[in-house]
Symmetry: C2
Subunit: 185 residues, 2 copies
């Protein structure tokens, strides 16, 4: 949904699978008792009534993001109150704007890795420490969306032999990057 009025008590139903987005953001941003400060997430919301909406979350600036998706949903609500094309920081580290897939991708530096079931094995892929990943929800992309993405020359990767939920794919991607670049904490 692209209204701040989505119901906090039915994130997976009447709110239009807002739980899926929030779980994905948590997988991208959280480690045990801490945040990944070097991560940037952009959630692209394309549901009714006022699509598109882009919500950009900067790990290095967020203050109140936590494991509870219902608490985080309140921050998303606040972001959705801002429907202008000009990006605004609606809470610390959370930036809202009315931007399309094409506009969001224009601001994403390459290389861009797209997660696809028939892509290259991510364990064998060349992944620099600064790399962007594009994941979709449970619905297939439209041919128009596919065309927009293809202009970014994405590298197609897969995490394994099974098709998984977005948040679980993100956890696996982070694990691969952590193994290559994170020092032991």
């Amino acid at each position: 949904m692209t209204t701040a009025e989505f119901p906090l008590n039915d994130l997976a139903g009447a709110a239009g699978r807002m739980d899926l987005l929030l779980n994905a953001a948590n997988a991208a941003l959280l480690v045990s008792h801490d945040l990944r400060r070097d991560v940037e997430v952009t959630l692209l919301l394309l549901g009714p009534p006022d699509p598109p909406r882009a919500i950009r979350i900067l790990g290095e600036r967020i203050e109140r993001w936590g494991p509870d998706i219902r608490g985080n949903a309140a921050l998303i609500r606040r972001a959705l109150e801002h429907g202008s094309r000009l990006e605004r920081e609606t809470s610390p580290g959370i930036f809202a704007s009315k931007r399309s897939l094409e506009e969001v991708l224009a601001g994403v530096p390459e290389p861009l890795v797209e997660l696809l079931e028939d892509g290259h094995d991510i364990r064998q892929a060349s992944l620099p420490p600064d790399v962007a990943f594009l994941l979709s929800d449970s619905v297939d992309l439209t041919s128009e969306e596919r065309e927009i993405i293809s202009r970014k020359n994405p590298l197609a990767c897969r995490v394994g032999p099974r098709s998984l939920h977005t948040d679980h794919v993100i956890a696996i991607i982070h694990n691969e990057l952590d193994r290559r670049y994170a020092s032991v904490t």
Copy 2:
């Protein structure tokens, strides 16, 4: 919490991090648009007012488990209504009983893998297709719990260099097993 009266609208707060258990169960049981039928999950609830409670979930028998943790929480509520030591199937594939960590572990076949930050790298570990994993929540185990677990001679493993949330660790473990044993779907 170990009462069926836990609040569905505050799973991460007043319900005592019920969200953490439900997210972990989802990571164990779900793939995209499908269930992992070869998985068995046991949730061990040790909070007030009537601990311990064990809820065993059989992937091959569950019918209504889905991505929405609030919907799944209703099934957990039903399981918590059954406080007897004798296990009962409270919903299809969901079995409830009043059992302790020691009693639950007695029913878990070896090998048992315990996830620990200083364990062996799971990518190098010997993992048969039938293997049990023990994960805790965000609170450290007590010395009594450690003693009970040590009697099962667990193999200590870690998924990577960072300490992660339980559900994300489960996603990474499944990915490792999928790579070894799942045929491409």
